[in-house]
């Protein structure tokens, strides 16, 4: 039974190469919790900005008539991965986990798997 803070802490300690993580409400763009980041990566700014990414994708799927849910969104930069994982569940109505990874140290498949696990713990 993890709370939001513990889940984020776990995300940044368990996942190799994690630079920061945030739990974001995607309607308002508010970070309900954030850990890591620092001056190179302002997670509250990233949180608000990435809600537009999620909303654009949701809208596109509606336009395409795709009856499906987004599980995660991967953004690959030159030196970082940004991973957005949408949470399901009642209270988690419209939330996503945002994870920034160092590309050189991260194992992407492993990170996705661990993020999925953290999500399930968050909701139990």
């Amino acid at each position: 039974m993890a709370n939001a803070e513990t889940a984020l802490k776990e995300a940044t300690t368990v996942i190799d190469g994690a630079l920061g993580a945030a739990l974001v409400d995607y309607t308002s763009g508010m970070a309900l919790g954030a850990i890591g980041g620092g001056k190179d990566l302002d997670l509250t700014v990233a949180a608000a900005g990435n809600t537009d990414v999620v909303r654009a994708k949701v809208r596109t799927m509606e336009m395409l008539g795709l009856q499906d849910d987004i599980e995660d969104i991967l953004i690959t930069l030159g030196t970082q991965y940004h991973l957005i994982r949408l949470l399901k569940g009642r209270g988690a109505n419209g939330l996503f986990l945002y994870l920034a990874l160092d590309k050189n140290r991260a194992n992407l498949a492993m990170a996705r798997h661990q993020l999925k696990k953290i999500e399930s713990e968050l909701e139990v």
Binding site: M1, A4, E5, T27, L32, A48, R59, E62, N93
Partner: protein, 242 residues
């Protein structure tokens, strides 16, 4: 919009005060200068949010989610969401002066992490700016929501559809929030987005005092200011087509 939301809140936070900050549209409860709870008649409380609203239709959720026990994580997330939601409305500019009742405690105290007053203030300001960025018509926030027909080919998100289907021309955004069990700010924001897309009527702004009558002369008439709302709607409709 610059400056603080509430100078009194800042002072109370600096003094590490404990009690209730009572404003026109809600109450903030502080312990040691940190916000532990917020209430507003506009914003649905934690119980409403967790129950999924009063609407029967929204009760039909997949996977029997309503029957599920609520985990600690989920509850904490919901509590934080409700706190910031109520705080946004409680800190809305009011007419009367704010009062502080020292030592007052919330009736429905939700145990959880206290939030720094500065974080509540910052988030409230960010939300005000966000609303203005989306569609700068504050009159929408308290007016009955009147849906407009979608343009051919225009798509609406599932969340938007859920709102529109319950907008009967009488309910305000806050009332829709209670019906759907969503935070009130989220509903206000969604309504502004829908209005920007032309899917909800934007109420006429408060009448502007008549400009000085133009003397009938040979001078070239000055152009009327452009109707931004109309232009945006035309642009959105065009984008939806192209």
């Amino acid at each position: 919009m610059t400056g603080g939301v509430s100078p009194l809140l800042r002072r109370l936070a600096a003094d590490r005060a404990t009690g209730a900050l009572v404003r026109d549209h809600g109450t903030l409860y502080l312990v040691d200068g940190q916000v532990v709870h917020a209430e507003s008649p506009v914003a649905p409380g934690l119980d409403v949010l967790l129950a999924g609203g009063s609407d029967r239709r929204s009760a039909a959720r997949p996977h029997g989610a309503r029957a599920r026990r609520i985990g600690a994580g989920e509850r904490e997330i919901c509590r934080l969401g409700a706190l910031f939601d109520a705080a946004f409305f409680a800190l809305a500019p009011g007419r009367g002066p704010a009062r502080f009742r020292y030592g007052a405690e919330p009736r429905l105290a939700g145990a959880g992490r206290p939030v720094p007053a500065a974080a509540v203030e910052r988030e409230t300001l960010r939300r005000r700016e966000l609303l203005d960025d989306v569609w700068p018509y504050p009159a929408l926030d308290a007016a009955p929501v009147v849906p407009r027909p979608a343009a051919p080919g225009q798509s609406v998100t599932a969340r938007g559809r859920a709102l529109l289907s319950r907008a009967d021309g009488v309910r305000t955004p806050a009332q829709l929030a209670w019906v759907l069990g969503r935070p009130a700010f989220h509903t206000v924001l969604e309504i502004r987005r829908l209005a920007a897309a032309g899917l909800v009527e934007t109420p006429a702004p408060a009448p502007v005092p008549d400009p000085a009558p133009v003397p009938p002369s040979g001078a070239a008439p000055t152009a009327d200011p452009p109707d931004i709302a109309l232009l945006r709607r035309v642009r959105d409709a065009l984008e939806a087509h192209l």
